[in-house]
């Protein structure tokens, strides 16, 4: 795979360098081996995981976790545990503390769901949980909506980045509100902004990066592709291309056509029309 990494274009969150702008979930792959191949193809900056009640047998026989650990040990990819399934700040803080112990990391993808139907985050509980976890020394990366005031509040309590949704989790609908996402980028120029959730195609990830988002986190779009490994590679290239386009600076859109080829010096047709 072509390597578009630019050593001058580092992604730093908090005081840590993140070695990749595509971040992947670890769920729903056809097999542990396919999951590991996708990680190798995408070389993600973060891989997300979670924790749940398990029996002794489930703890012992955990192929996905075994391969995920192996991949993490061999690469610079970081693990990002989540608090998926939590509906209150109290639950999320409890689960985050357990995740820190289980995975031996201070990174946490903070999820507090407010609406079961859309999986929309609960904005008020989210800020409360973020404030407490930052106080406890976590690097809190909150999954949130694209609400500007909410993102500002999360940054204000000490989150080193915010992760607004593009569309509801698992829908693959892409950037439902580009205007709002553009506004976020313009109003929060110094913030690390990561699109989390709703991306279905590489072109959508690329569009997010062209808007100036710093990274994209997705899972279903790769895991549920007909060929997950090829799709992981496609997303990697799209994210890289989108980032380069943002850094290069896109042209200003115009309403009127303007010829690309110089008109001056064009032979024949001026004379022909005059002679007609």
């Amino acid at each position: 795979m072509a390597d578009f990494t630019d050593e001058r274009d580092l992604l730093v969150i908090g005081d840590k360098q993140i070695h990749g702008r595509l971040w992947l979930g670890s769920s729903m792959y056809p097999s542990p081996d396919v999951m590991a191949e996708c990680f190798s193809a995408a070389q993600p900056g973060f891989i997300t995981a979670s924790l749940r009640r398990q029996t002794a047998r489930e703890v012992s026989d955990n192929g996905h976790w075994y391969l995920l650990q192996k991949y993490l040990a061999e690469t610079k990819t970081r693990l990002l545990p989540n608090t998926a399934g939590c509906h209150s700040a109290r639950e999320a803080v409890q689960l985050a503390v357990m995740a820190r112990e289980l995975f031996n990391t201070r990174w946490i993808k903070l999820e507090v769901i407010g609406d079961e139907y859309s999986l929309q985050p609960h904005s008020l509980e989210l800020v409360d949980a973020a404030r407490e976890l930052v106080k406890q020394g976590f690097y809190v990366l909150p999954y949130c909506t694209d609400d500007l005031v909410l993102c500002e509040a999360l940054l204000h309590v000490g989150c080193p980045a915010v992760m607004p949704w593009a569309a509801p989790i698992g829908t693959g609908k892409g950037l439902l509100n580009p205007y709002q996402l553009t506004t976020l980028r313009q109003r929060l120029p110094e913030a690390v902004l990561v699109i989390d959730a709703g991306i279905g195609k590489p072109s959508q990830a690329m569009a997010a990066m062209e808007l100036g988002f710093d990274a994209v986190l997705l899972n279903t779009a790769v895991a549920k592709a007909s060929d997950p490994v090829t799709m992981a590679r496609a997303f990697s290239q799209a994210v890289s291309g989108g980032r380069q386009a943002f850094l290069a600076g896109t042209m200003t859109e115009r309403d009127l056509a303007s010829p690309s080829t110089p008109v001056a010096g064009l032979p024949f047709w001026h004379q022909q029309s005059r002679g007609a």
Binding site: G25, S26, S27, M28, Y29, M35, T48, A49, S50, L51, R52, R53, Q54, T55, A56, E58, V59, S60, N62, H64, W65, L68, P81, N82, A84, Q94, V97, M98, E101, L102, F103, I169, N219, T220
Partner: protein
């Protein structure tokens, strides 16, 4: 001693020894070297203090391991 525990949401008799370490590693058979964490009534109990943790009637014990996630 008699009583009930809820272990991962399922009611079980409180064992006579009432000791968290014995419960988890011996009674329930969790592998010592594997990764999992234990909470009692929602609070994380580090493995260094399992041996000193005594359970009582009505306690909730949650044993969590790593799973995939998005």
């Amino acid at each position: 001693m008699s009583g009930i525990l809820k272990i991962n949401g399922i009611e079980q008799p409180l064992p006579e020894h009432a000791n968290l370490k014995v419960l988890v590693l011996e009674d329930l058979g969790y592998p010592e070297k594997s990764r999992f964490v234990v909470a009692v009534n929602g609070a994380l109990i580090p493995d260094t203090v399992w041996n000193r943790t005594h359970l009582k009637d009505g306690d909730f014990v949650d044993i969590l391991g790593a799973i995939t996630g998005g």
